[in-house]
Every structure is written in structure tokens, then in C-alpha cells.
Symmetry: C2
Subunit: 445 residues, 2 copies
């Protein structure tokens, strides 16, 4: 009746933490711990203290609440120290982080991490190692730091069947798209995001969708039990979007958002998982359309609850630090209870992924064409040949670009494969210029 | 170091529940418990069982998972039974529920309740009694059943300073306002809500704002530590709204929502709490404007996180039952840990409420006037006398009602008192007909 009983139960009235990394988030954690011991004692039955921290340079003076911590450069000292009850991994990266998290778990120590990349690559394996050693991996801070989405999916939705998870999982790109919606170019908007501290000096993994894909991988495992990696599904970034596309979107009744989408499709016999990250036309009346600035938001559609939505800051020292501390309290409670509080992946499913070419959606298409008779007929003929029917056709004669005319099309539901094939043929027409765009439209559920 | 240590710790490997009431929610709880024992064992270290239930009529045959429970008509048997570890109060109402919750707490039993009315009237007193006996009161199901707002405010936002909580706290009124936005009358929309099961046969406390006020009272205590009751602040329902007002709102760029608002105002020296429930013009670009159907949504603005938003179903057997079970797991964990997991109201504040007449907002005003020269001048003169300046003036000549013309005004920020006084004067003008409306506009933060 008591699975996951841990042999590693602290005897003292203090829960002792070992931190790997003591940067912005680590400093935030130390500060919150110092300020809120009363809260921590009330909730976990013990105080909580950082006893060791691994850093690159022990001589660098650290300010704030962590100044009395025993510092080391050897991470091995943290993950195997007998006086460390819980390991907090804040070093980032994949390979080294994987090794140390694994070692900590094998030593019977629960791990709290904010590292989405390592979980996207090795999550299910680490969860299994944790379970085998009667402890848990906690990662509220790894996805949308200011939103309690991990806890909600694990606890609130544990007894529910999830149909779709769709989210704005990267704040940088949401901020950039917001400025592009006001007419700024991609480059201008990205520079402004960097000036304001929303984008890293190297924003590559934000703008190319990889960061969102890591988070989607973690959510998909929670929601459906599938063991996939970000390299297993299509990921499209925002780099090739133009202000014209965002203006078209607005005129057609949409906002452009970079969404991570994990959706069950098909009948129960042949259920598949449609998993992808790409810029998406979101209907203006849907809440995801109006998520402002650098915020994140996640919409979950499930059987018992219908649609639920969670929105908040995705990153930042305090949101992420708070998420780590809430995990620490949970971990301390479980440790002292002698239980591994996490639900085993009983719903583990070998659900196959939808072939990207078979992924279904309505699409926005934009072509630059000569303003000559017959062009529209030629294009719609090609679309019809690929069984693509149209909902809206809009030709912007008033805003010519180099003498060419933008032609905007909104299709009825079709497949990514049909759209790709049709575009290849349309591009061969002599009357069609370079510079087309196509963006899937979010399904309203 | 271990406050709230409870003397009432279960010795068995089963957490034993006593339910007061076994209706829709109680049945849902029984069903979830039967289905998800593995989850409950993994998280709380023990199985969970309903051992006793108090009902009105023990002879009525009950179906489903609760059929083997020992039934009684005497609630005293539940709250004092030595074999009951946790009491679940699902009877509703105020006075009797208060008495039984109190008795259970005094007997050292944690209480899980879905009863917003009793908490709105007696919450702080019951929390204090619980604390004195080393146990807790859990009430995730009492506010927005399908949204983990109580847990989020308690845990996620515990270390944060909250500026404002604003929410759509009643699903019935949101559904009715949605239909009125499509042109239906209040009566038609309410009848449709009843047909669909969103409104009770007596919907009074929904439409007059009392249900939302109960929930706002609970949230205000969590957010600010204030001990107020729903009768202490202004509550306006939706009964007097017309489709014309909703159409005006849309034309001016707003949706009409019944909001509960709890907002800090003033400087730190003279901080006050602005607390109210009323129909509100919500800017269309704000997420609260697009909350559909019978859903609830809560926006929290806080120092560390900025704006966070939580949206989901407010009621229903499964959402509410899930919320009760998540509280039960938390309660069982705390019980076995021997801690009262809840944070004491260390932030308890004797913050005074804003005088309703001093509450500040921009306002929408609608008057029916004779279409004669000088009417607008007379009205704007009166407004100016009350120091109310205007942002928008819109006279709808095209849509005359009985020969009169609607005059729509949007004011800059002013006070409720100034608006009330100005309206009294405007109503005395011979050129102004009966049937004015005024609705506050939500502040964008």
C-alpha cells in the first residue's frame, strides 16, 4: 500500500539542499528561502537550508542570502554528499546535467530542476530511474515558470482525459510577434526584445522554436504518457515572418502566435498524437490571441473540465525561483512522508505520432502575383487539384509591392502535405513571384 | 520548529473520510476515489475510503461507488466519530454547516468543504479554530471548482504581494451576458441558461451578484488577509442590463462581464482595499473579455509575477469533485506528516475598505434624451460641475427608441459618488427620459 517508500529520510528538523549552480535563479531561491522560512516550516514540517552549492569559481564573492553556503567546484560533492537531502539542478545544458541528475537519483536524492533541455532529451528515463530509487524529479520551473502548469496537469488533470494542449511556451517570441503586429520588422522587434532583456544575446533557440519544442515535449509526456523527443516532430520558428503576414492576420480576424500543439487525433482504435511547434493564426476571439508581451499561456482541453487556460510570466528570476521553491516544499513533504508523491506513468501510451504530411488544419496562404487576368484561376486550379478548397480569397490591389499584388487565401481543412505540394506547383507559375507564406490556423475546440 | 503538530494522526494505512451530504458532488468524489486509488496511495502514502456519510434519508438507494458506506442522518456521528480522519462538508447553507465544521475542527479533524457561503460569513473564524487545533480547512472547490486558484494563491503567490484580483466568478451570469451580447433579452438569456442546466431554478443569488460576492470575500482574505463579509461592500447584479448596453459596449470596444474586484489603492501609508462586484466594461483586448460560456476566470496582478490568469469551469460535479479530491490528498498528506500545512495569516491586515462613493473608475453612461439642441450642453455642464470629464461622446441618431435618442458617454477617471450625484441631476432635466445606465470600466494594469 505504500510504494515508493524512500530509505533516505532526513532525521533532522532541517531539509538540507545542495544546489548545482548559483546564478540568477539560484540566488532567487536563496532569497525566497531566507524570507519565507515560516511558510516552509508550516508546510513541510521542517526548515530548509542550502548547505552546499557547486559553482564554477568559489572565489567569486556572492551577495545575498547564500553567502554562508559551503561552495565547491565539484558537482560530485553535491550529488553524493550524505548531508544533502534534495539536489537542485540549475546548471542547464544536457549531457553533464543528465549525468549529475542521474547520479543524485541513484543516491536516493530527489531532484528539483529548471532544465527543460535535459528533460526533453532524457525525461522519461530520469523519471524511471527516480521511481526505481523511490524518489522524484520535480520540474515546475522548467515549463512556464510563473504558471503552475506541471502541478495542475499532474494533480488537477490526473483523473481527466486530455484532448489537446496548446500553448504560447516562449515569451521572447511572443514579445517579438507583438511588436511585429504593430508594424516592426522581425529584426527591429528582436533588437527591442534584446534591449529590454526579454531575449538572450543569442536568441537562436527562442526564435527557431527549439525552446518551445523542449517544453512541448515535457507537456506531451505529462498529458499522454508518450516518450518523444523534440527532434521527432516538426518545429518551425518565427524567423521568416514579415509584418505583412501579421497585418494580413489581423485583417482576417487572427493574431499570429508561436504555438506548441499536442493534440489527440483519430478514433480510439487508431489514436495518434499530432505534435508540432509553428507560428499559428489564432482567432482573435480565442484567449490565446490576446496574451500580451513576453507572457506564456497554456490552453488545455479535457473531457471533465472542457477548456482551461493558464497564463503568466514564462521566465525571470522570481517566477522561476518561486516555482523551484514550491517544488522544494513538495519534495520535502514527500521525503518526510516517506512517499514518492508522483503518479507513475500508468497511462504510458505507445501512441504513434501523426505523419507531418498528414497533419490537418485550415491554412492561410500568401502569394505575390502579377496583377494579370488568369492568375487567380491558375492558382485555384492547382489548389483544387490537391483537394484544397477555399474559404476566403483576398487580393490586395491597393498595396502593391514592386508592382506585384499580394493574394491572400484561407483554405478549408486540408493536410500539410497537400499544402506543401500545391505550393511547389504554384511557385512554378510564371506569374507568381518569390516570397510566399503559409501558416496553419488554430482549430477552435 | 514544528507548529500545528496534530495529535490526531491516523495509525492505519487508510485515510478514513466522513461525508456530510452525498449529492452530485459527493457522488463525484466517491467515483473519483474508486477510480484513482493508485494515485491517492502514491501521493498520500495511504489509501482513502469513505467510511461514513450523513444523508437526509438513509433508505434512499444510492448508486455507484458509495453504496457500501455506513449511512446516518445524524451529522454529529460524522464530526465526532473516532474512525473518521477527515470530514468532507458538502451540505451547503450557512448556520448548520458552520456548527458542524466547527465541531469537526474542535475534534481535531481537518475539514474539506465546497461551501462558499459559510466561508464568506465565517471563514477567518473557522481558520483560527482550525489553527488552534492543529488542523486545516481546505476549500479549493468553493471558488471556481475547475481552477486551482486557492492552491495557487496560497502556494504560488504566497511570497508575492498582490495588487489586484479581478475575476469572472459566476458561470451562470457569464453565460447569460454572452447571449445578451448576441441580442437576447435578459429574460430570454436566463431561460436558455436554465434550459441548459447552467442556472438553478432559483437563480437569484447568481444574477444579483451574491454568489460572486461570497467567492470574492474568500479570495480577498487569501490575497490581503482582510476579514470582510459580502455585506460590507457594494454588490450589483446583472438584472437591469439590456441588450442595448451590451451592443454599446461592443461598439465602444468592450465586453460586459460581471466582475468581482479586490484591489489595493492608495499609498503605503494609507493603503485601502477597493472591493466590489458589478457588471464591468472590459476592454476587448483584455483576456477577461473573451472568457466564453459558463466559464470562470481570475486575473491576479502581483509584484513578482505581473499579471497571471486562470480560466476554467466554475462548477459541475466532476470539476468540483476533482477539487475536493485534490484537497483530500493534500489533507491526508498533512495529517500523516503531522503538520498543518497551511500558512498562518501572518499577513493579516486591518486594511480599511474604500468608501464606495470614493471608488475610482472610468464610466460608461447611457441616457435617453430628446433629440433637441442644448440637451448635450446641459448634460455635459452637469458632469463638468461634478468634475467629470469625457473621453467619448456618441449620439445614436439612427436608432431612435420612441422618438428618443440614446446618448452614450465614456468618462475619464472619476468616483462612483460623483457619477451618482451627476446622474441624479441629469435625471431632473426635462429633456432626459427614464432608463439610464452606468457601468464602470475595468482599469488596464
Amino acid at each position: 500500500m505504500n510504494p515508493g517508500k524512500s530509505s533516505h529520510r532526513p532525521l533532522s528538523d532541517t531539509t538540507r539542499l545542495g544546489l548545482i549552480g548559483l546564478g540568477t535563479v539560484g540566488g532567487g531561491v536563496a532569497e525566497i528561502l531566507a524570507k519565507h522560512q515560516d511558510l516552509i516550516v508550516a508546510r513541510s514540517g521542517a526548515s530548509m537550508e542550502i548547505v552546499r552549492a557547486a559553482v564554477r569559481d568559489v572565489d567569486r564573492v556572492r551577495e545575498g542570502a547564500a553567502h554562508h553556503v559551503r561552495l565547491t567546484t565539484k558537482i560530485e560533492d553535491i550529488v553524493s554528499a550524505p548531508d544533502v537531502d534534495i539536489v537542485v539542478e540549475l546548471m542547464g545544458g544536457v549531457d553533464a546535467a543528465y549525468k549529475h541528475i542521474r547520479r543524485a537519483l541513484e543516491n536516493g536524492k530527489p531532484v528539483v530542476t529548471a532544465n527543460k533541455a535535459v528533460l526533453a532529451q532524457h525525461g522519461p528515463e530520469l523519471y524511471a530511474i527516480a521511481a526505481a530509487h523511490g524518489v522524484d524529479v520535480y520540474f515546475e520551473a522548467a515549463v512556464a515558470g510563473g504558471i503552475p502548469i506541471i502541478r495542475t496537469m499532474r494533480e488537477g488533470l490526473a483523473a481527466d482525459r486530455i484532448t489537446a494542449v496548446r500553448g504560447i511556451l516562449n515569451g521572447t517570441t511572443n514579445f517579438v510577434l507583438g511588436l511585429m503586429g504593430e508594424g516592426q520588422s522581425y529584426g527591429e522587434a528582436l533588437a527591442e526584445a534584446q534591449r529590454r532583456g526579454y531575449a538572450e544575446s543569442d536568441p537562436t533557440i527562442d526564435v527557431n522554436g527549439r525552446d518551445a519544442a523542449d517544453k512541448l515535449t515535457i507537456l506531451a509526456h505529462l498529458a499522454y504518457g508518450v516518450e518523444v523527443r523534440p527532434q521527432d516532430f516538426p518545429v518551425v520558428g518565427i524567423e521568416s515572418l514579415t509584418p505583412e503576414v501579421l497585418r494580413d492576420a489581423h485583417d482576417l480576424g487572427f493574431a499570429v502566435k508561436l504555438l506548441g500543439i499536442a493534440k489527440r487525433v483519430g478514433s480510439s482504435r487508431a489514436m495518434r498524437l499530432d505534435l508540432r511547434v509553428h507560428p499559428t493564426f489564432v482567432p482573435l476571439e480565442h484567449q490565446l490571441a490576446s496574451v500580451p508581451g513576453a507572457q506564456n499561456a497554456i490552453s488545455v482541453v479535457s473531457d471533465a473540465l472542457g477548456q482551461t487556460l493558464y497564463q503568466g510570466p514564462g521566465a525571470g528570476g522570481m517566477p522561476t525561483g518561486s516555482a523551484v521553491v514550491s517544488d522544494l516544499i513538495e519534495a520535502a513533504r514527500s521525503l518526510r512522508l516517506g512517499v514518492s508523491g508522483r503518479v507513475k506513468a500508468s497511462r504510458k501510451a505507445a501512441m504513434a505520432l501523426v505523419d507531418p504530411a498528414d497533419a490537418r488544419a485550415c491554412f492561410y496562404l500568401r502569394f505575390l502575383v502579377d496583377d494579370k487576368p488568369g492568375v487567380l484561376a491558375a492558382i485555384t486550379r492547382i489548389l483544387a487539384d490537391h483537394k484544397i478548397s477555399l474559404e476566403t480569397v483576398l487580393q490586395r490591389s491597393r498595396c502593391k509591392i514592386d508592382g506585384d499584388v499580394p493574394l491572400l487565401l484561407v483554405t478549408h481543412e486540408t493536410t500539410q502535405g497537400a499544402v506543401d505540394a500545391a505550393i511547389q506547383e504554384v511557385k512554378k507559375l510564371r506569374t507568381v513571384r518569390n516570397g510566399h507564406h503559409h501558416v496553419p490556423i488554430m482549430e477552435v475546440m
